[in-house]
């Protein structure tokens, strides 16, 4: 019965999002909604194109991945294969702390330290850019990526390593050619879950990206993501209005995106269990 609850919740969430956004999607048109280039919900007539938001989300996610993925894999390798026991426990503890820091705090520090820093180094008119968002999100997704990849690397059976070392390979060659390959499905799952976290992150992104709903040409301009749009505008809408329903439609799209990412991650996680 209690187990059923989680299924019920998933269905309820989908159902409520769908019902709230249905009339909007029907009247405005899904295609126009997704490909529209202008998000001016308050102007007259309003325009609900979420293409800039989607591109904003994708751009930031992509940037965060480029930063986070190599760092995470390398750190995970170091922590699980190279670091001595004591250091490993300490590093794992720090990573757990990292995961526990609330996103508003990270956003706040990003605003106070990172944003002025980026403004100065790249000589920009504002430091609230997609690039800042990518850095903050990369940092936030690293604990997930590192700890799950670390688990995957750690669970590579000892005999694989022994086999390679017995053939005369150095430990590093073993790690690079054998361990990494064997742990790959787990690492991919870790990356997918990390990406899930990046796309879903709201508060920190809202605080450092500047929230301008333009289609960005470089990573050094302000952007606005789907999550930030919901969080920022929900408070100002009139219940039941087009604008209100359009935010639910964005929620629905986010729900579907994470759903797909999860399915892929789950597929890879299942692969390692075999």
């Amino acid at each position: 019965m209690c187990g059923m609850l989680s299924v019920i919740f998933v269905i309820l969430i989908f159902g409520f999002l769908f019902v709230e956004s249905f009339t909007f999607l029907k009247n405005f048109g899904i295609f126009r909604f997704i490909t529209g280039k202008h998000w001016f919900p308050a102007s007259n007539p309003p325009s609900f194109g979420i293409l800039p938001l989607i591109i904003g989300s994708i751009l930031i996610t992509f940037g965060a991945c480029i930063i986070a993925i190599p760092i995470s894999i390398m750190s995970a390798l170091f922590i699980s294969e190279i670091a001595p026991e004591n250091l490993r426990d300490f590093l794992k503890f720090l990573i757990e702390l990292m995961a526990a820091i609330p996103s508003v705090i990270i956003g706040f520090i990003g605003m106070i330290i990172l944003v002025p820093f980026i403004k100065k180094t790249f000589n920009l008119s504002t430091g609230l850019t997609a690039f800042s968002g990518s850095i903050v999100l990369a940092f936030m997704s690293m604990p997930t990526m590192i700890s799950i990849s670390e688990d995957a690397i750690h669970s590579v059976p000892w005999k694989y390593k022994e086999g390679a070392i017995a053939l005369g390979a150095t430990k590093w060659q073993t790690i690079r050619k054998v361990v990494l390959k064997a742990a790959m499905p787990g690492i991919i799952a870790a990356i997918m879950l990390g990406i899930g976290r990046i796309i879903g992150e709201t508060m920190a992104v809202m605080m450092v990206t500047g929230n301008a709903s333009n289609i960005p040409k470089t990573i050094f301009v302000p952007v606005r993501t789907m999550t930030a749009t919901i969080a920022a505008e929900m408070g100002e809408t009139v219940r039941g209005s087009m604008h209100y329903r359009s935010l639910f439609a964005i929620g629905l799209i986010l729900f579907l995106i994470t759903f797909i990412i999860n399915l892929i991650a789950d597929l890879f996680l299942r692969k390692i269990r075999r």
């Binding site: 019965m1 209690c2 187990g3 059923m4 609850l5 989680s6 299924v7 919740f9 998933v10 309820l12 969430i13 409520f16 999002l17 709230e20 760092i71 995470s72 750190s75 170091f78 922590i79 190279i82 670091a83 720090l94 702390l97 990292m98 526990a100 820091i101 609330p102 996103s103 508003v104 705090i105 990270i106 706040f108 520090i109 605003m111 106070i112 330290i113 690293m142 590192i146 150095t170 590093w172 899930g196 796309i199 879903g200 709201t202 508060m203 605080m207 999550t227 919901i230 969080a231 929900m234 408070g235 935010l247 639910f248 929620g251 986010l254 729900f255 994470t258 759903f259 999860n262 789950d266």
Partner: protein
Amino acid sequence: MKLNPKLTQKISYFILFLVTVFAIIPVIIIISVIVKNGLPAITLEFLTSFPKNGIRGGGIFPAIIGTFAIIICSIVIICPIGILAAIYLNEYAGNNLLTKIIKLAIINLANIPSVVYGLFGFSIFVVFLRLGVSIISGALTLSIMELPVIITTTQNALNSVPSSFREASLSLGVSHWQTIRYVVLPSAVPGILTGTILSIARISGETAPILFTAAVFYVPHLPHSIFDQVMILPYHLYITSTNVPYMPQKLVFGIALVLLIMVLTISSISIIIRIYFRKHKKW
């Protein structure tokens, strides 16, 4: 030119080490910056009085109380449901289609963006069930969000109890439920506790889901019941750092420090419990 494998190994180890340090440094920067700037703001008055001058002065007492109210409410809702669900899934459910669907649902629930939970909570609890923007709406929303985490960690804890304990108990004619109640659960308590406390830490730092379901900018009094709106620390930090002009920075850092201490204390407790029980594990 082919490099000497030994040398390559040394160089690569060093690079990996540097990268790891690079990944860790921001945590240390964040914590030290907040502690350094926030500490001067923390006084008894700051912790125990109401905000003044349109939130730009005074203390954060109502926000602290509001955060605790939400946390306690969520624990009351989530613990029984999450733990019972995990027991059912782990000990009773057969390996059939329904179980598979439930497991898939749990995984998906775990990864839905928190702001989508906020939307959902708003439309079901605040509007549909007419609970309004209130502690209970916020707590329910957070509970649904944390449900998969509690279920998964509890299941892991139950799984780590050796199945031989179950067999030994069952073979004595003890019923299935008594076996779970007196043999499996006591052995799994440390794991369940760790998971639960970690979720509490997460709940206390979350902002997006309570943005439209529980939190408000300012209330001049403490909440009287669970149907009241409240001020909440993470939201307070967000608002003061972005939307309040001429906000004294010292106070913002003070709020950040209080929140950070709260969250890190709660999660450290769970980490310590885990380390303690791992050392004293009897099997």
